[in-house]
Point group: C2
Chain length 439, copies 2
């Protein structure tokens, strides 16, 4: 058998320990599939002494994590430190700069610096290149990037959408099952380890936005454009919204959605949004429960492909990391985003104003006569017609009631206009919540 692929692990948290456990448990199988063994030679983490339940004594230790990128006994560095900048980025640059391969689970770093790193990888080794792979950065154990860049490689991708954040999906599923409000289910998710102590990254949609920006570049052949992702979270969703959605035959899911859109002048633009949506109960995404992720790819020849599985966790993420290592060990030479970085097309963000869809709009209003007339008049003046309207019967403790409606198909600009007309109205207690219906 050929010589081992020698790897260094940077970061020994859950995923790092998982990679050590996976290589130990399935090492023989992995060597058979890779054509050669995959051997850890060196490691680094913040705390050398911490008990991780795995024996790290056989591996060389580096105090200076970025030094892993230049060790003579390392072919590929596995970066599992996290964070868009800081040590992770320094390590990534040093690793690729010295001509070694990089495998990372770091979605933030790839969303922010993926283009720079892809170029560095291509220029490495005097232009022969070095592998850069990040399957674990998107949708955990699901081979979604592989499915997109290789499985669907012959297709023009028309649309990519899915459930990319397990924490939000867990909370929404739990709200659905229990009838509880967001804050209670967030606390429950934190107790169970499904949500971080600081959950903002997950519940405000940033984590999903990182993943969506990576998927979009891979699928559409555009440059990675994380700053243009329109990211909304799930913090404003109430138990009452979930109940209303159910009454309409829908569930609420945090849907990440990207597609190319042509302007009236024919210019291609890129639409990228993470936002809670109403998903029909018959849609495959509606049955994605708990911390599961799902990615749907709509293509011109293969039609609609769906990939579903665990979106996070030690085993699934380690599985994706080692799948990348096996590909590298086999000599797979695929550009980081499926196309050479120079071919990825810078693409202006789409103007969502022209997008047409049905929308769920929920107002919290004072329980006074005339409020409904005010709202419906604004909708009429903005040219938005209402398909159904539900006013919750009883006011809550603060004397407020919920008014929820579903609009007919309308441009997003028109709905925004209606809400602008209502801005500052004294009887409307808080910013209205708008959620699109997934078709």
């Amino acid at each position: 058998m050929a010589e081992a692929l020698r790897i260094a692990l940077a970061g020994l948290g859950t995923v790092g320990a998982g990679v050590i456990r996976l290589l130990a448990a399935n090492g023989e199988l992995i060597a058979a599939r890779a054509g050669r063994p995959i051997a850890i030679t060196a490691i680094s983490a913040r705390n050398r002494a911490r008990d991780r339940g795995v024996d790290i004594a056989p591996f060389a230790w580096e105090d200076d994590m970025t030094a892993l990128g230049e060790r003579a006994d390392v072919d590929v560095v596995v970066e599992l430190v996290g964070g868009a900048e800081g040590p992770a980025l320094a390590l990534a640059r040093r690793t690729l700069g010295s001509g070694k391969g990089l495998v990372t689970a770091n979605k933030a770093m790839i969303a922010h610096h993926g283009m720079e790193l892809a170029r560095l990888a291509e220029e490495a080794n005097g232009g022969r290149g070095a592998p850069l792979r990040f399957e674990a950065a998107v949708a955990g154990g699901i081979p979604a990037l592989k499915g997109l860049a290789e499985g669907a490689a012959a297709n023009r991708v028309q649309r990519i959408y899915g459930i990319l954040n397990g924490t939000c999906n867990y909370i929404l599923s739990a709200m659905e099952a229990s009838g509880a409000d967001f804050a209670d289910m967030l606390a429950a998710a934190q107790d169970l380890g499904y949500a971080e102590a600081d959950p903002a990254f997950d519940v405000e949609g940033t984590d999903a936005a990182h993943k969506l920006a990576i998927l979009a570049a891979m699928g559409f052949g555009t440059t990675v454009d994380f700053p243009s992702v329109d990211a909304q979270g799930i913090t404003a969703i109430r138990a009452a919204d979930i109940a209303q959605a159910a009454a309409l035959g829908h569930v609420i899911r945090l849907v990440s959605h990207a597609e190319m859109a042509a302007t009236q002048e024919g210019t291609q633009t890129l639409f990228q949004r993470v936002a809670p949506c109403l998903v029909p109960c018959s849609h495959p995404l509606a049955s994605v429960e708990g911390a599961t992720n799902a990615v749907v790819i709509e293509t011109d020849f293969a039609g609609r492909l769906l990939f579903e599985g665990a979106g996070a966790g030690e085993g699934p993420t380690a599985s994706a990391v080692v799948a990348d290592l096996i590909d590298i060990a086999r000599g797979a030479a695929l550009p980081a985003f499926g196309l050479p970085a120079a071919m990825l097309a810078p693409t202006a963000p789409a103007d969502p104003g022209e997008r047409r869809n049905r929308a769920y709009v929920r107002f919290t209003v004072a329980d006074r006569p005339g409020v409904l007339a005010l709202i419906t008049a604004a909708m009429r003046d903005a040219g938005v017609s209402i398909e159904s309207l539900i006013q919750q019967g009883r006011p809550d403790e603060g004397g407020e009631v919920l008014v929820a409606m579903v609009t007919h198909d309308a441009p997003e600009r028109a709905v925004a206009h209606a809400l602008a007309l209502l801005e500052g109205a004294p009887d409307i207690a808080e910013p209205p919540l708008v959620m699109r219906l997934l078709d």
Copy 2:
């Protein structure tokens, strides 16, 4: 850009024409993703004159299809002729024997001769090997083999199951929706082009069994063993069975299922079965409708992965064929079944008798007193306890009624024993139908 990958197409039916159309429509994108163009140089089919809606004038024509395998201007032959033996197999042998790559959508040939062809591919070019790939042979446009052999490469696969035959799934979905019987829906499927004029291959489970044998070899690292697949079809299913299943919260799907099973002595054996099953409505496979396919892989680290998409058709199958070509153009060098042929382990078929599951058993009986007592006594004597029992109220024209039951968890051997006790009973009109409940 590097030199083109030159391919020959053997067979110009739906899929062959689809490959020509796909390469024409997305050629530039495909060249970018493959790192070089993919160019058709030569073709062959039974009938040169037939109008296929594509221009075949630019390609060299071979009357002798197998001669494609030795043309100097061809790097890879795409075999789309079909059939386990005959011209397809002759072409495959000649192609690999002359050191060229082979891409095929031919599940029957791979199920029957995959081992021989995998060895031929490895021995080609003086041992340097030639690529052999067949993504399109299993689950149409879904990159299921890639997901299994590459995406989940780091995992021990515990179980593979799914819906692998679109014709059967279309018929079962249509029976569900319409309440009609098998024969009517088969005729409708034939009218719509979802079923062949001779549907036996599909509706008797052979087609799914071919695909399952390929998936099992790929997932478990065993030699391909098609003859051991226990294949049952859907022809015995009645509208009444579907109604009973619905009353129990289930739908009926033709489920292909493979897993490794240890004998009491600890020997690993391979279980492979294609059979109609009762699938709980909450299970992802229950919502797979129409001609869609789905493959579920259960693994030790990545957990449960599900891949879903179009299982057949011109576009999806062509997409899978060209994905294989792109991989080859990129230089991907993966053994045909993910492992070198010599490492695939010959594995004895599992004895299903020890498998425990709940079973739906349906009898067609004469409407006479004592029949129910006869059946329930046989179940008791075989040690099978009954969870629920439904006797259809009114006899049909022939004076027969249906008796359906669901057993508690029991070894398959015990249920078989009960049915053996009832064999020849004059009041039992036809062989009972047994369908397992998917857990």
